[in-house]
Symmetry: C2
Subunit: 335 residues, 2 copies
């Protein structure tokens, strides 16, 4: 591939979403087909979790990457739907772990049918996705998908294990993010590039694009939990700290606080006392910590975006740029 730098055209921030819409309805069809392949006794449960208004970011990334590098083939769509199934499986299990009753305005599976069934449903989705991955007849793909699935679980394990662990460092935090969110984003872009027959360097560039974008997206989500309003974002916020999840703004706050501030903060975290905005602002340089986190995520997105300049100049490449810019926009709106 010619690695000459090509400037992206200016586009509407919502353009990538319009561009993938027809392909995303193919993804919905594929997901629906999967439901039918389960035992009739299991189908209604699979149907319920596949039929949510998920954003389908991972399939969208696989589709845009395919488009940027040539054609969007049925294999790109298949990859997208497999990664989405793994994502759905991990959400079913995450919601058990977090005790979340509602996701995207509907009752979570464990709330509806009990924890046992939700555990098993996640398992069945996981193993089905990995079974599907063998249909590519390409072991590199099966392996890459299984590896990403394992990383998602490992990232979640480490996160769960290190709740309320005040020795958690920034390096650990980033490792958790890369595993729990980055891995599937990276699989979507990297394996999609591989499917398009891209050269190794381009595959690696796109893998890194997904990894960094996913990590930045998770930092955005972590900041949102602290500063967002529930009306604005339609999800329960201010829950991370309650659960002992130490996210980047909190790590930064602990780092920059005076010893006495730090002690106060640590005590409140350990005792699970409510730590809302006014409380946090009263303890240490809260705004500085949020700004720092946003800045970190912004730098990651900018880094992620750079290698896109080397891709062929087409509307899908531009849409990948715009997707990155869209995240930058979301991040800036948090301030």
């Amino acid at each position: 591939m010619n690695r000459k730098l090509k400037k992206p055209a200016k586009t509407d921030l919502l353009a990538p979403f319009a561009l993938v819409r027809p392909h995303l309805s193919e993804i919905e069809k594929l997901l629906r087909e999967q439901v039918d392949s389960f035992d009739p006794g299991v189908q209604p449960y699979v149907d319920y979790v596949c039929d949510t208004a998920g954003k389908r970011i991972r399939p969208a990334l696989a589709i845009l990457t395919g488009g940027a590098l040539g054609d969007i083939t049925p294999d790109h769509l298949k990859l997208g739907s497999i990664l989405e199934l793994i994502h759905i499986a991990s959400l079913v299990h995450d919601d058990i772990i977090d005790g979340a009753d509602i996701r995207r305005k509907v009752a979570t599976p464990h709330t509806k049918w009990g924890e046992g069934l939700a555990v098993l449903l996640g398992d069945a989705l996981f193993s089905h996705a990995l079974m599907l991955s063998t249909e590519f007849n390409d072991l590199h793909l099966s392996r890459g998908i299984a590896k990403a699935a394992r990383e998602v679980c490992e990232g979640e394990i480490i996160q769960t294990q290190r709740r309320f662990d005040l020795t958690l460092g920034r390096k650990d935090y980033f490792r958790i993010l890369e595993m729990k969110t980055g891995a599937l984003f990276a699989a979507a872009t990297g394996l999609s590039a591989y499917l398009s027959g891209a050269d190794e360097e381009t595959v690696e560039d796109l893998y890194q694009f997904g990894l960094k974008l996913g990590t930045a997206y998770q930092i955005y989500d972590d900041c949102l939990d602290l500063v967002g309003t529930e009306e604005q974002f339609g999800k329960t916020l201010r829950t991370d700290l309650e659960k002992g999840k130490l996210t980047l703004p909190i790590l930064r706050l602990l780092e920059t606080a005076s010893p006495s501030q730090r002690e106060k903060l640590q005590e409140r975290i350990i005792k699970q006392e409510p730590l809302d905005l006014p409380v946090l602002s009263g303890i240490a340089d809260y705004e500085g910590a949020i700004d720092y986190s946003i800045e970190t995520a912004v730098r990651l997105v900018e880094d992620a975006r750079d290698p896109l300049h080397f891709l062929p100049d087409n509307q899908y490449r531009d849409a990948l740029f715009t997707l990155a810019n869209y995240l930058l926009d979301l991040l800036r709106k948090l301030r």
Copy 2:
């Protein structure tokens, strides 16, 4: 392969276990190696669950099948260890669902580290096993393993879903057993035969051997829950009915009871009233129902054993026979 009938030599019932012992220590080594491939933050958990005194029946079946059809290769051992990892993953999740505190004399993962971590640990083991399966460089194997894993989960889902469901029929019961226990046994024998390069008919024969043996083994376990003594078997018994699991003896009891007996029995099941031996015996033909279940399992094992006659005559083939006979022996001892 020459399908001439060959009679098995008479052997000590424990011979198969002596025969696989050296190979099983290889399996333990392989499992231990897997631990190292996890993130350091996850290793201690994986180590804990792999280090149990499991019977390693699935690896033993893979090894004996390999021996019966030629050489026991590193791939047979790898297959055995992958299936054991899937089995361990499913036990971690089953114990959450059943609220079991102790397994094989040690605390279960969810008791030790909480449900969340146990859910994720099972997930990581599942996805690791499926990742390992791609190392065969043979998609038929990856697919067969993923399919077996999915069936285990589906079987458990249907079982969970149909707890306390008095309309459960014998056909449903057998379907659950084939999925939740038969599938991994069948993968051990069938895929092992495939690894040995056996012809399609032999692969199918061995697949059916595993499927039926696994199903019969589960019937044994279901009967044991009703008639065994805890001292004798070192596990908590009489828990199936409490949890609404309708097993073959109970299905038979309901079938053969008079309308008034059936009503009494159904009421006790739904109300989760203790249903121990004296109570059951007082209600309907309890012994007849146990006998019937044992007979069903015996016939299954005999059926399973038949095609072994067509295998080459060697000590591993004999050990497969003896393993089947060992299960027959266990079944007869239940009376």
